[in-house]
Homo-oligomer: 181 residues x 2
């Protein structure tokens, strides 16, 4: 069965610094024409940086759209034309002050695919040398470190609802589990 919905037209309602929004006419497999709202986002990258004690750097920060503070793995937006590993290498220094080494790609997630083009690449890396944190002027955050067990506990208890942080925690546990065999 062919599920593809074909773009007929696109009408941009907003072009922003973080997202753009367009409303398309699309043709369904049965020929019907429907409206599809699409949020365009360049995508981002999350990084799980592990220190020598098996603890991972996590960021506590205000998430304006959620009106709450969240605890997440460090992450950042892709700059135009940037590949995921370049974003990951840059963002982990900016947010934690530490370089990442031995980057391993964990795959990507689609956070909310029904209306949003964003994909988030996920990396696991080891803590390298300290280079100094340099945050954007509008970033206020606190860095702490947690073990995979503490992260899992927080996720199961509902204290860590961030999607990439949940996916990355469990994917790293799967990877470590496999490596032990």
């Amino acid at each position: 069965m062919d599920y593809q919905e074909k773009q007929i037209s696109a009408d941009y309602k907003y072009h922003g610094a973080v997202v753009s929004l367009r409303v398309d006419q699309a043709q369904l497999p049965d020929g019907q024409i429907v409206q599809r709202e699409v949020v365009e986002h360049h995508g981002g990258v999350g990084i799980a940086l592990e220190d020598e004690d098996g603890k991972f750097f996590v960021v506590t920060q205000w998430r304006y759209a959620q009106n709450m503070t969240t605890l997440e793995f460090p992450a950042g937006k892709r700059e135009p034309g940037e590949d995921d590993l370049t974003t990951a290498s840059r963002e982990i220094i900016e947010e934690t002050g530490y370089e990442g080494t031995d980057f391993k790609y964990l795959g990507y997630i689609i956070p909310t695919g029904a209306y949003d083009s964003e994909q988030i690449g996920m990396y696991y890396a080891k803590k390298g040398k300290f280079c100094g944190q340099y945050l954007d002027s509008d970033e206020f955050l606190n860095i702490s470190r947690m073990s995979l067990e503490e992260l899992t506990e927080g996720i199961v208890a509902g204290r860590i609802p961030d999607a990439k942080t949940i996916a990355m925690t469990f994917l790293i546990k799967e990877m470590k589990g496999k490596n032990r065999k």
Copy 2:
């Protein structure tokens, strides 16, 4: 440390059927005024429906904003004023034809909290009686069933990037792991 960013003003750029978009002026903890783009979404619910053989219903469908077909747990948007369990009970019948019983709440995820207000509630349920599938006129999808092991394999291999499906698979595994103790 107080991280809160306070809303100063809101300027709506788009009001849609699925999302709205506004651009706010916000005040940071240091007094600075910055712009924040916010996608507003009423939120959704994902449901992991397990049959008598321990297999879970999954939906294959076209995701227009991603320009690809995805495999996901059944899910749907909250209608205005609806609570998560009502949405879950309704959506699981609409998409699979089967009623859910013994609903267990698995928590919620924030898919992409930097700019989007969406939260997705997650439920685990057992397959009840067949009532008949009734899809929206613009929904084309295929239903199949997978075990938790098959889901995990697909996630680790990168074939199942949907964030809620990843979170739900691992949360159910955690829950079943705990129950075995």
